[in-house]
Amino acid sequence: MNYEFMKGGFFAVVKRECLVLTSRPLYLFTALVFPLFALFFMTTIFGDGMIDSIPVAIVDEDDSRMSRNITRLCSAVPEIRVTQVVANTAEARDALLSKEIYGYLIIPNEFESDVNANKNTSLTLCYHYAFLSVGSEVLQGFLNVLRIIAVNPLQETANFLGIDEKTVESIASPISISAHPLYNPSLNYTSYLSFPYFWVLFQILILLNIAYSFGIEYKNGKIRDCLIAGNRKFTNVVLGKMFPYVIIFSSVAIFANVLMFNVLEFDLSSSIFAIIAVCVLFILATCSIAIFLFSIYPNLPIIISFISMFGSLGATFAGVTFPVNAMYPFFEKLSYFFPIRHFVVMTDYLRFESHAFIYYWEHLIVLMSFNILIILATVILKHKYKAASYGH
């Protein structure tokens, strides 16, 4: 056993890094307080997480018994809430622009008489798609009443003939659709986004913290001090500097998982220990990629700008909101170079499937492979340091 490694090098660097970390409150802020803020933000921003009772308007150009009946039907679905009945489209557009409503249904002039005369007529359903998530909820809400509204004339005639409601329903919609949203039955936004997006934010902080902790040593010309503390071994420097961060980040990960899965009771099909283990692996992979990117160009301001971009792209390549397979194939392939992509796939399995391991083991191997980059980074940094020393 190499006791030198245990006594002098590695632990001396760890000790030195702990002193650096506590030397300025700002370091603890970025390593500890910011992640906790991210956790607080992502678990509370969506309120109760349900987009429902969205205000909509009915443009009632007909003002008939039938149009009022339609307004009543629209008020009965949970997704939408009729807050205004207006006489023309211009008024509805104004309400839309002032964000009083997120969609409207146009009942045209002479609607009732056209229906009674068995003439072709239509209802126009408008929903706000510049706000896609709300707009799609409005669409779903209207679709739920659409079937009833579409056969309204039929229902009127049938009622007149004394045919019972159930029969009318069968005639009107012989094929009925029942929807089962899997994994998130109530389509709750907190369940949907809080977990993955906390990790998207956290990985940005991990990347920046690690790059900064190395970069500042280079910038201030202190890398030699680090090497002296680490018995002139770059392995000790790299691992020793990373170690306190890994401990802090892992502690945040444990806290976040306990909070989300035990306190807030997010769905979790696997053991909490499994998900914590994957989170720690992800932290290691992210640290590795940060130090690797830094080693390629160890200039703090420039590399930190690049790493910021890399971290921000994680939000896209996580594939949570817009599926990566819907992007250009090049970007889909590129996403595999981002640890967050594999992490999201793995944690999706852990959160929603039992026996998850058999589905995600390939991603696990890739995630673990990112750690090879530490070795590469160490070699590159060592090489560059030697080259610079000879230069002097």
Binding site: S133, G135, P301, F331
Partner: protein
């Protein structure tokens, strides 16, 4: 006045000779602008892969499946009679959902009864679920109106046969302000406004941090007048630089990538003036946090995703807890993004963005005063 011009020229010189700042300004802005547009350039999420568990195996079920497959939202990649097989495909991410058609579909309908089909859709991405939900629902509406005459006949009542002639009302769908129903056309316009804010903040912060770490700040006087001039000088410099980038982000990129562009350019310029000034003053007010040139990035980059949420574009502001709503009014990018979407994507005019304009001018005033106070006292302290 001469002093302000001198400060502005000093700022230009300092920015023009600072390589990292130039990288952020040129590569960052241009790179981010093009990259984000390219990432979402496929725009509409089409042909989500789904499976059909067709237990009926009838001409009717096949007809229904044809209707579903014809929609642009989904693509039927597998037809099976095995529920577990479909479930396996879903778990292994080969499909994003499946439709279960019961064996008695045709028989029930022939008898005049209703048959229930079940959609199982993954919600790991809400877009996947939305696609399968819409496709199956629209297809069912089509096939139901086609089945109407047969259903009426099945009633076996002569006097109701004329029901079959009753026309179902047509439903016309009209997605507003995003006619392609694309994800890119929804997300990119607000993101462009946010990127302007972020790179502007990074530039201002790097400059302040650099000044602080190298103690280059010109603290020859501690008068209030000079502090005001410093703040105004810095603000004008950055607003001038970012006027050019705003044209790039909000004028050129929407043209190149065919983004919604309904707004009047003059209205957008009038909105951008308080936005850019408020952003610079906001950033200068935070200058005590910029201990060196690099630290600000932590805060700014980390805030990128929260800023998107705080605009209220991706999740309605009304449903957020009150403490986050406050942030919407504190950070210039939130009202500005909303105002830009109203003007450029929704074709509104200035009368539609009055609340946002009041917020932005209010922020300008507050952050101008705050940044002047901060600059005044920091230069006093330095002295």
């Amino acid at each position: 006045m001469n002093e302000i011009i001198k400060i502005i020229s000093n700022e230009f010189r300092a920015i023009g000779t600072n390589i990292p700042i130039l990288i952020v300004l040129i590569l960052g802005n241009v790179g981010y602008g093009f990259l984000y547009n390219l990432l979402y350039n496929t725009n509409v999420y089409k042909e989500a892969p789904i499976a059909i568990v067709d237990m009926s195996q009838s001409d009717l079920s096949r007809h229904f499946v044809d209707y579903i497959d014809a929609t642009q939202q989904v693509k039927v990649v597998s037809k099976t009679m095995n529920f577990d097989e479909a479930k396996r495909m879903l778990i292994e991410r080969e499909i994003v959902g499946f439709l279960y058609i019961p064996s008695e579909l045709k028989e029930e309908i022939m008898k005049g009864n209703q048959a229930q089909c079940v959609v199982y859709g993954s919600t790991l991405s809400f877009l996947d679920y939305l696609n399968i939900y819409e496709a199956v629902n629209f297809a069912s509406l089509d096939i139901n109106s086609e089945l109407l005459p047969e259903m009426v006949e099945s009633l076996n009542m002569i006097d109701v046969l004329f029901l079959a002639n009753d026309k179902a009302v047509d439903i016309v769908n009209e997605p507003l302000y995003n006619s392609s129903e694309g994800y890119g056309t929804y997300l990119i316009p607000p993101v462009m406004v946010i990127i302007i804010f972020q790179t502007l903040m990074i530039t201002v912060a790097m400059r302040c941090g650099e000044e602080k770490s190298t103690r280059l700040r010109d603290n020859k006087t501690t008068s209030w007048g000079y502090s005001i001039k410093i703040v105004l000088g810095k603000a004008f410099t950055n607003v001038m630089i970012y006027s050019v980038f705003s044209v790039f982000f909000l004028g050129l990129l929407p043209l190149i990538f065919d983004l919604p562009h309904l707004g009047n350019s003059l209205d957008i310029i009038i909105m951008m003036i308080p936005y850019l000034f408020a952003s610079v003053f906001f950033c200068l007010s935070l200058s005590p946090l910029y201990t060196d040139g690099d630290m600000p990035l932590f805060f700014i980059v980390f805030m990128s995703v929260p800023l998107v949420f705080l605009t209220g574009i991706s999740y309605p502001l009304e449903l957020m807890p009150w403490h986050w709503k406050i942030f919407h009014y504190l950070i210039p990018t939130a009202p500005a993004t909303l105002a830009f979407v109203k003007l450029d994507c929704m074709g509104g005019d200035l009368s539609n963005v009055v609340p946002e304009m009041i917020t932005l001018w209010g922020q300008c005033a507050v952050y101008f005063i705050l940044s002047t106070i901060i600059f005044h006292f920091s230069s006093t302290k330095n002295k």
